[in-house]
Subunit: 334 residues, 2 copies
């Protein structure tokens, strides 16, 4: 059942059918009704490929993230999908992992689908802070063909739009609070070396410096994002002394909590732990986590708003920084 069949049954030309399908005003009400009813009766659905061929667009947005199984990504993708559907866009999803090669491959592949725009979720796509680094060249290349939107990442460039958290400030603030409440040896716990982590690290170091505390390599720990593993690694470091933890995500923080529990340390009196993301993990462990809310929904919302405005031909800002919020669930006074 194609446009020709419908045209024949309705006694009009295919152009008229096309006009009805696309909501053109240049059709008499009577004809429109006739065509609509024929379409209805026959469950006619326009062929998206043919339409795509002509318009060179299929109303589809590409979304790439390292892995949707990650709670943060999952929330973001879920949110993006819902908003995009509202606007009549579908989304095709790629999980790229964190390897440079895989990320480039994912972008290459998804570009072939002639998507209308590309969303990259997560700071892993930003490279390691050096904005001119060749590691983001593939993103600039993609931006040459379609608009690229970064969620919690920042890259300068034509046709690239970034919405990101002020992670440096958030961590600076949180660590400063820890210090003011008397903590002196604050463990910085992370699981990757993304742009976002670099920002957090800077906030951490700045807070230490401005408060006259030394920045110590032994207090920066890179590990894997698995709760039991984190706990066990921390337990194994018998000689490592710390009185508080700033983790770059909640799962890591839960690992630290479990370590403290295993050691019989009281949280928050003898050990402070601050997580990141305000995910379900943070209300899952015991005691629950004080955590930095990265406002994922807000980033997603701003991104979609920008995108829709851009696709309508309006001007949009290339960079939108968003403040984080500290969610206190378990702290000594600060």
């Amino acid at each position: 059942m194609n446009i020709y069949d419908i045209a024949k049954l309705a006694g009009v030309s295919i152009a008229t059918v096309s006009r009805v399908v696309n909501g053109s005003p240049r059709v008499s009400e009577k004809t429109r009704q006739k065509v609509l009813s024929v379409m209805e009766e026959n469950h006619y659905t326009p062929n998206v490929f043919a339409r795509g061929l002509g318009l060179d667009s299929m109303q589809t947005i590409g979304i790439i993230c390292p892995d949707v199984a990650d709670a943060y990504m999952a929330r973001a993708v879920s949110f993006l999908e819902r908003r995009l559907k509202e606007y009549g866009y579908d989304c095709i999803l790629y999980c790229s992992g964190h390897d440079q090669e895989k990320k480039e491959e994912a972008v290459d592949l998804i570009m072939k689908k002639r998507i209308d725009a590309l969303i990259l979720v997560g700071s892993t796509y930003t490279g390691y802070g050096d904005d001119d680094s060749s590691s983001v060249e593939y993103i600039r290349r993609a931006a040459g063909r379609l608009p690229v939107f970064l969620i919690n990442g920042k890259i300068s460039g034509e046709n690239i739009y970034s919405v990101y958290n002020r992670d440096e400030e958030a961590v600076y603030d949180a660590v400063s609070r820890l210090i003011r409440s008397g903590r002196k040896r604050i463990l910085f716990l992370t699981d990757s070396r993304s742009y976002s982590v670099a920002q957090k690290m800077e906030g951490y170091e700045r807070a230490l410096r401005e408060n006259g505390l030394p920045v110590l390599g032994e207090l920066k720990l890179l590990t894997e994002n698995r709760i039991h593993l984190v706990r066990d690694i921390l337990l194994a470091r018998r000689t490592l002394e710390y009185d508080s933890v700033l983790a770059t995500n909640d799962a890591l923080a839960v690992g630290a909590v479990k370590c403290a529990n295993a050691k019989g340390l009281k949280i928050p009196e003898e050990m402070s732990v601050i997580g990141y993301n305000n995910s379900e993990y943070s209300v899952c462990c015991e005691p629950e986590l004080t955590t930095i809310d990265n406002t994922a929904e807000k980033l997603c919302n701003l991104t979609i708003d920008n995108m829709m405005r851009l696709l309508k031909g309006e001007e949009v800002p290339a960079e939108v920084p968003v403040e984080c919020m500290l969610v206190k669930r378990c702290t000594t006074d600060f």
Copy 2:
């Protein structure tokens, strides 16, 4: 840069270029190399729409789940995406929610995309157990146009392929263990009334019956899937007595754990809690959860295997049941 350009530059016809692109053997090695190099030089990418138009396929699989933000769905989607990519398929994702109307709408919309197959993740798409119920009619209709794969759901019908957990048996087994270890009032805690939940409920009731215990309505609790809410609801039920909990997912179980902790009840001595899914939640709370592993990866794997076999024209089983496994993390002896 289209197929005509490439043909001209390579000094051949478009038919030959097409043959090279599609790996046809009817091309001389020399010509093939020539064409390939021209394609390479010009970064030629075939237009997927045009190709889709001719073949009526774009090598794309549709995935629908209630919500990817849910940890279980996220894991499944992540896994499916990875496997599908291996086989050269892309996936387009829809989150449908749980409303009947929304689910039907999601299926309708995604079908218009001319996907090659449809995967429905989660037992919500199975209706409430009545296989002939009109609530699954839309799925049968979809199956009239393309193969439909259910992950943890079961619907009979032409062109519908189901892979699902033996939830009834798993719960029967778990509850029987609780009873053997001396529990008498087992709370059945759930957040929806899907097919899967119905199965679990049956296992629960059968275990009670076969052990001579009464099936009590007051010990079946339907709530929302939010940890603090579950805790608070349980705390508010001052008069509700129970000595153990069987929850249909881990988040609910964590809520029960938090309630027990708040009441000062020792787990597992004074209160047993069993979760479902073996998600990260289960190792997040304190004490950690004994939980039933629904082997999500296994279901996904079997589904993809089936799909690829089917798309190659081979025969595949319409139903594949998979055993669950009990993961003990915190139990009195059983």
